[in-house]
Symmetry: C2
Subunit: 184 residues, 2 copies
């Protein structure tokens, strides 16, 4: 029996159509404060955030990163805010452990902190969508990032064009995702 | 000005000492339901969950994965519950995109869905801690996982030994994590 799921988790859905209303900087900063409270491997906090909320910058950025094979993500060029989630990969603890484990911890950390943004946004009436399909190389170049930094994901943010009922999410794999004390 | 952060985000901290009280399966399943409501790249839901709540299984597993260079994580052998977050890497959409982007999307997805577990647990009075430092190869072997599956992270779960005040989190990098419309 499922009990009492946190409201923003229950009600979140990916939003790709936004009202033209701009997003208050106060709300953006609140989302990023929530992100910075996230745990990270060895608490290194590898995340860096570039907020794009200037329409001219957004348009120039979008032209670079949502074109060619990435044009399926063109809808994001109309998002009032794009947050680029960058990681500082120049962190020794991560490097040694990641090489041994073959796990790029900063990717996990970006997932964790980004979801804090998404849930906090939902709580404040904002819609959001994770974006993994964009020209990541051109995104780095656009902001002239140092070599140690890398934009891993984007999150689109804005007031939803219309209100959505929480969708009835279909589970993949026949819903067969969980086993106790064994895997068969 | 920061406004109204979601309570479980605000109050979460990593818990490594747990009461001996077992965790109700109902609560574990609620955490995993929350996890399954998470977004994932192309909605492929690559996550699989192995819940270890049988003390005998936990002890045998811990002996394998928290020894040798991984013994810094020995505290987790006493956690009432360990959830192994595994990913099915045999998903074509992920494979093609990941190769082009050099971003292993399933790692981001594991971060996102795992944090739903952590926040939902916090909401229900449970403490948790992400674990990235364990013998991942032996973990896979312990459960005889098929080659396509891989345990990426563990999450320890249980009732905290004592109540914690939310910690006053110190931000790294002089708190200089955010820029608007540029990176300098």
């Amino acid at each position: 029996m499922i009990i009492d799921i946190i409201t923003p988790i229950l009600e979140r859905r990916s939003v790709r159509k936004f009202a033209e209303r701009p997003v208050e900087r106060e709300k953006i900063l609140t989302c990023l404060h929530a992100a910075q409270l996230a745990p990270s491997a060895e608490n290194v906090q590898p995340w860096r955030f570039i907020v794009i909320d200037d329409p001219a910058v957004r348009d120039a950025f979008s032209k670079q990163v949502f074109s060619g094979i990435y044009s399926a993500t063109r809808w994001a060029a109309k998002a009032p805010v794009l947050i680029a989630l960058a990681a500082d990969r120049n962190i020794i603890a991560h490097g040694v452990a990641a090489a041994l484990q073959k796990i790029p911890y900063y990717m996990i950390d970006i997932g964790i902190c980004g979801e804090h943004i998404v849930l906090q946004a939902q709580h404040m009436g904002l819609g959001s969508c994770w974006i993994g399909w964009f020209n990541a190389r051109k995104a780095d170049t656009f902001f002239r990032l140092p070599a140690k930094m890398r934009i891993c994901e984007l999150i689109a943010l804005g007031y939803p064009e219309k209100s959505h009922a929480p969708r009835n999410k279909k589970l993949k794999n026949g819903g067969n995702m969980i086993q106790f004390n064994t895997w068969t």
